[in-house]
């Protein structure tokens, strides 16, 4: 009888031990890994966060307007050349509440989007080709980087000779200004795909198109987005230069309106257009930043 008890005891103990080992792995892993995994960050209150990021900007804006007002009060320039903020802001408001102004915006943005899209298409094809074919890289790799440093306004004389004073001249310069950045973003993205990822892909049997679709293109995405952002900045600058230099008859773009305002010595209107162009630039830059940040967050590239 005692012997039997001993046997059954040891069986129970063994069963317990098995259960323990089975349970142990799962429990301990969650315990240890819970320590190691990134904690959920406290989001904080929305209003507070908006205020925290907004007040430095508002302060900076107030300082700029203050300097402007001070320059006006000090009569640094005659008031018809440098009107005060109190005159310009109402003028800006009157401007942006006209349908005609929005026609100008529509024309300019259509040009910007057309030019940028074309630059993205050309830059992507160019970047993919350069990263794929070594002789092509040797031939034009450094040329692409060189083109990026070229001030786009330098292209206009040639563009005007080639395409006359027309939409095509502007488009040409916008594309040639932005495409190298897009191409470079893609090239460096592809160049810096980590070696272990490539090895993993190779062992998985990826080759040809599948390798691009499932590995190279997604892996180079962050760098590509940076290239797009820079490309946009270049195309926007090129476009503004183009609209001031190349006046297409009948197309009353933002640049043309600004030039007209200068011809009429309407400083208030010129300043208003400067602010409009600045705001558009900032808004679109924010759009790219938003995409970039979302991507980084998704990938875990942001430091905790």
């Amino acid at each position: 009888m005692p012997a039997e008890t001993a046997v059954s005891d040891s069986t129970t103990a063994a069963t317990n031990a098995v259960t323990l080992t089975k349970g142990r792995a799962a429990n301990e892993v969650s315990g240890l890994d819970a320590l190691e995994t990134a904690p959920q960050r406290d989001k904080g209150r929305l209003g507070l966060r908006i205020w925290a990021s907004a007040w430095p900007k508002l302060l900076a804006l107030a300082i700029v307007i203050g300097i402007w007002e001070a320059a006006y009060l000090a009569e640094w320039r005659p008031s018809y050349l440098l009107p005060p903020p109190t005159e310009v802001f109402p003028q800006l408001w009157d401007l942006i509440t006209t349908a005609d102004f929005w026609n100008g915006i529509r024309l300019t943005m259509t040009r910007a989007i057309t030019g940028f899209s074309l630059a993205v298409a050309i830059g992507t094809v160019l970047g993919a080709a350069v990263s794929r074919f070594a002789p092509l890289r040797a031939a034009i790799g450094s040329l692409i980087t060189g083109l990026q440093t070229m001030p786009s306004i330098m292209w206009f004389p040639l563009a005007i000779l080639l395409f006359q004073l027309g939409e095509k001249a502007i488009l040409f310069v916008v594309v040639i200004g932005a495409a190298p950045s897009v191409a470079n973003g893609l090239i460096s993205g592809i160049d810096y795909v980590p070696r272990t990822w490539l090895r993993v892909g190779q062992v998985m049997g990826m080759s040809g198109l599948a390798k691009y679709r499932h590995l190279i293109l997604p892996a180079s995405l962050p760098s590509f987005v940076s290239g797009l952002k820079q490309g946009w900045a270049f195309s926007w600058r090129s476009l503004m230069a183009g609209e001031l230099l190349v006046m297409v008859p009948g197309a009353v773009s933002i640049g043309v309106r600004m030039q007209n305002a200068r011809d009429l010595t309407d400083s208030g209107l010129v300043i208003s257009y400067i602010m409009v162009v600045l705001v558009i630039g900032i808004l679109i830059d924010q759009l790219f930043n938003f995409a970039d940040n979302a991507l980084r967050k998704r990938w875990g590239l942001t430091g905790n």
Partner: protein, 258 residues
């Protein structure tokens, strides 16, 4: 030289490595990484390659994986498929955990529903069910290696090649993953070729421990490990055998240093 040469050809070897040498570079810069290495891995076997750094154990793994070409000798895997794991999990950050596991299935041409189901099963195998929709960066190092293991299993490979897969983990996590790997190896009837420089780890896991010398890499000795499983890394048997192998390794390192 190698005791394997005298044992003759094994009939059911999954990986057959005969007199394989690997040289990098050429001329006076030539570096002999592997020198006439012979090694057979049988189906279902767990073989550990052990050696100091520079012994070419990772090179050997790359050769078996087909990532690199051998310089001379013969290497046969009989058209079998291999999967590879590294010290880093090398998961793709643009995919969720399940996306990473599903990728090899996708490349195999499996349908969406089928992929999801299989990935779910595999995550169950590595005990990560419930983490399917997480991103790799949200996981700990140990959990990431579990995902990498699930992804390797998804490749339906005949041979699993592991290059110091637990080298970057803390001792506790590593210990748990040893248990898990041993369990999965048995359940899934895997054949494993496992590279490490940790003697105890090799003895803890391997059916055989192949000791390699450094510069160039040669097989010094093939230790069969016969202790009953499951083993513990701190058991007297594992420690004793590890000490024996360490002595052999030391002698080898000393011979090179002099």
């Amino acid at each position: 030289m190698s005791i394997l040469e005298t044992t003759g050809v094994r009939t059911d070897a999954v990986v057959r490595i005969e007199n394989v040498s690997k040289t990098y570079g050429s001329g006076s810069n030539a570096l002999l990484a592997l020198d006439r290495v012979s090694l057979d891995v049988e189906k279902g076997e767990f073989v550990c390659l052990l050696g100091a750094s520079g012994c070419g154990k990772s090179t050997l793994l790359s050769l078996v994986a087909g990532l690199d070409q051998i310089s001379s000798g013969t290497l046969e895997i009989g058209g079998r498929k291999v999967a590879l794991m590294f010290q880093e999990a090398a998961l793709f950050p643009w995919l969720s955990v399940t996306g990473n596991v599903e990728l090899p299935l996708r490349l195999q041409g499996l349908g969406k529903a089928e992929r999801r189901k299989r990935a779910e099963e595999l995550l169950e195998v590595v005990r990560l069910n419930g983490f399917a929709d997480k991103r790799p960066h949200e996981l700990s190092g140990g959990m990431r290696q579990r995902v990498a293991l699930a992804r390797a299993l998804a490749q339906n490979a005949d041979v699993l090649l592991m290059d110091e897969p637990f080298g970057a983990l803390d001792a506790m996590t590593r210990d748990i993953l040893h248990d898990e790997l041993e369990r999965i190896w048995r359940e899934q009837n895997l054949t494993v070729l496992f590279v490490t420089h940790n003697v105890r780890e090799a003895v803890r896991l391997g059916d055989r421990v192949i000791l390699l010398s450094s510069r160039p890499g040669r097989v010094i000795e093939d230790f069969p490990i016969q202790h009953a499983r499951p083993r513990r890394i701190d058991s007297p048997e594992v420690s004793g055998q590890a000490a024996e192998i360490t002595d052999r390794l030391r002698a080898e390192v000393a011979r090179h240093a002099s």
